[in-house]
């Protein structure tokens, strides 16, 4: 933000600053790895004063946690948005996953920061990993209503599905295959629907083109 007078509401400025700091953290992480990034790096990349950083976050770790929460919230918003435009649960999964992959592909730095770090940073990362998983679990749990086995299905099924999707993305990001993330859609839809609908119905839904992501 240019210094001096600006007629923008304070709320907006704070939001904007936070997003900018988070983006800077993500870019720095991609460049040198999370552990090597310092607050000084983030401040330089974001083009803000050191004070401004500390007005928003108490530490690099806090900033990281916020980045992960931001990414999950954003992703979830897009998923729910896309899913609410269609009727049946299987097509919702198809649409939601399409929106999710589209978001991840469009934010490679943020995705790499959150997904790769959550699965590689040791015990400190577990909370973040758990929180991200849990955010998506309810969307899949609805599938039990359309499944003949419903509540008899393994209790951790949804955790497995979400965790599995994260792991696949993690692998693709590590291998530098971010470009093809959206191509994974049919396979991941089939993977997520099979436990609820059986292989055949899952394959059928996965073969349909998802409603266009806006």
């Amino acid at each position: 933000m240019p210094p001096g007078r600006h007629p923008l509401p304070r709320e907006f400025i704070t939001q904007h600053q936070r997003a900018r700091i988070i983006a800077a953290l993500a870019e720095e992480t991609v460049e040198k790895g999370y552990r090597a990034v310092t607050v000084a790096d983030i401040v330089r990349r974001a083009g803000i004063a050191r004070n401004t950083f500390y007005e928003n976050f108490s530490s690099k770790e806090a900033c990281f946690l916020a980045a992960s929460e931001y990414a999950v919230t954003e992703a979830l918003r897009r998923v729910v948005d896309a899913a609410s435009k269609v009727e049946s649960w299987p097509t919702r999964v198809n649409a939601g996953l399409a929106a999710f992959l589209h978001y991840v592909a469009g934010e490679p730095a943020l995705a790499r920061t959150c997904i790769v770090e959550a699965l590689s940073a040791g015990p400190a990362a577990v909370d973040r990993y758990e929180r991200s998983i849990q955010a998506f679990v309810p969307l899949f749990r609805m599938g039990r209503k359309v499944s003949p086995k419903g509540d008899e299905l393994p209790e951790t099924l949804e955790e497995t599905i979400v965790g599995g999707i994260f792991w696949i993305l993690y692998q693709r990001i590590i291998m530098g295959q971010t470009e093809q993330i959206e191509d994974l859609l049919p396979e991941l839809v089939e993977f997520s629907l099979t436990p609820y609908l059986g292989a055949e119905a899952a394959k059928r839904t996965s073969a349909e083109a998802p409603p266009a992501a806006s």
């Binding site: 790895g33 790499r112 040791g122 990993y129 209790e155 951790t156 965790g163 692998q171 530098g176 436990p195």
Partner: protein, 452 residues
Amino acid sequence: MLDIETRERTAGSERKRILDALIAIAAEHGYAETTVEMILQRADLDRAAFDRHFRGKYDCFLSAWQEINETCMREMLEAYNSHEEWPDKLRAVACEVVESLRGDPSRATFSVEVLAAGDAARARRDMTMRVIASLIDAGRNEMEDPESVPHTTAEALAGSAYGQVYSRIVQGRGDELPELVPQLMSTAVMPYLGLEAAMEELSRGFNPPARYRRGVAKRTSSPKTDDVTSAEGYPPELSRLPPGRHGLPREFVVHNQRERLVAGLAEAIAENGYSGTTIAHITRHAAVSRRTFYEHFSSKDECFVAAYDTVMTELRDRVSEGFEEAEDWPHSVRAGISAMLGFLAAEPHLARLCMVEALVAGPVVVERYDAAIKSFVPYFQSGREGRPPEILARLSPTTEEALVGGMVSLISRRIIAGKAEELEELLPDLVEFTLTPYLGSEEAAKIAAEKG
């Protein structure tokens, strides 16, 4: 002679003491807080002892991690091979892993801690994960149409199983792991065997294996249980060197005998698996006497290592030949992969030996297996040269290792499924997969689709 042996044994136990101490300390204090001084105090050794074995704290961490992964890999594959049918095989693996994590809590905690040590630790973990994915993926062989399940499914199942075990350990909920096993099994079986089989898994509960090994750096003792079949009395149709004088220079015969033993080992392993292979099996396939075996090797392990080295040298030569002949980097990669697949498809026994059995054959070989994988990394790394910054930005320091690992895992899956002969069909997929990070998907697909 005895002196050397004693010294070696002392060095081995010194190293093990340091690694055990490190694991205990790191599990208590975390990676960042652990210092070499703390490790040495616990191990009751001095700094000189540490320096004899490790270059520093990081090196020591990675070594401990390496051994844990090797032990884990060996235990998993032994468990897998201890059963005949696929879901039983996989269940044995799951039970083995959970039982061994519970039997050694500091090893479990350490396995989580070590990830904070950086990319190399993570890459090592990912390799183990790829092996687990292959064991799950073998489920497709139970299906009428084995190609009907996407290949990412097994990868996803392995990764999320890992995530669930990992977070339970960190949150101090390790006692929940046994009840997690039937759930994970149920979910893993579902895509391959259907819903009914999945529900059955749920009702099975947790059946730990009767025996399991704990601790790191457990060396397999050399096999003493061979049967006593002598090499005499072989059916005449088995080709063997005529006994007595045969006018060949001694060097040649010796060399030739070694090669026959190596080939014999590969055949015996293809038939019985590594654990099930005895020296009698090897000598029978090689059609040489037991005494000849012991003139060349002191144990089955040693023979395996020789076999492994022979195969890998040949494989590396073929790859590097193919790589160097092509006119530009992408075609070099294509030619190298093609040479590799060609060799493995033509020699299915050797393929199995170096890509699958090597993982169960003990620490010495697993170390070599790792080194072999790393030796392919530079071929890909050279693809970074001259790429624009936006391409380089999407590569991570371990991209090449992950690519080689991913490629090896696709290949070993085919071999585990008994389809080594069909390996060459993988060429377009592997070329596209490995070139994409450097060239983009369009260009990579184009080169993958080329003929010849």
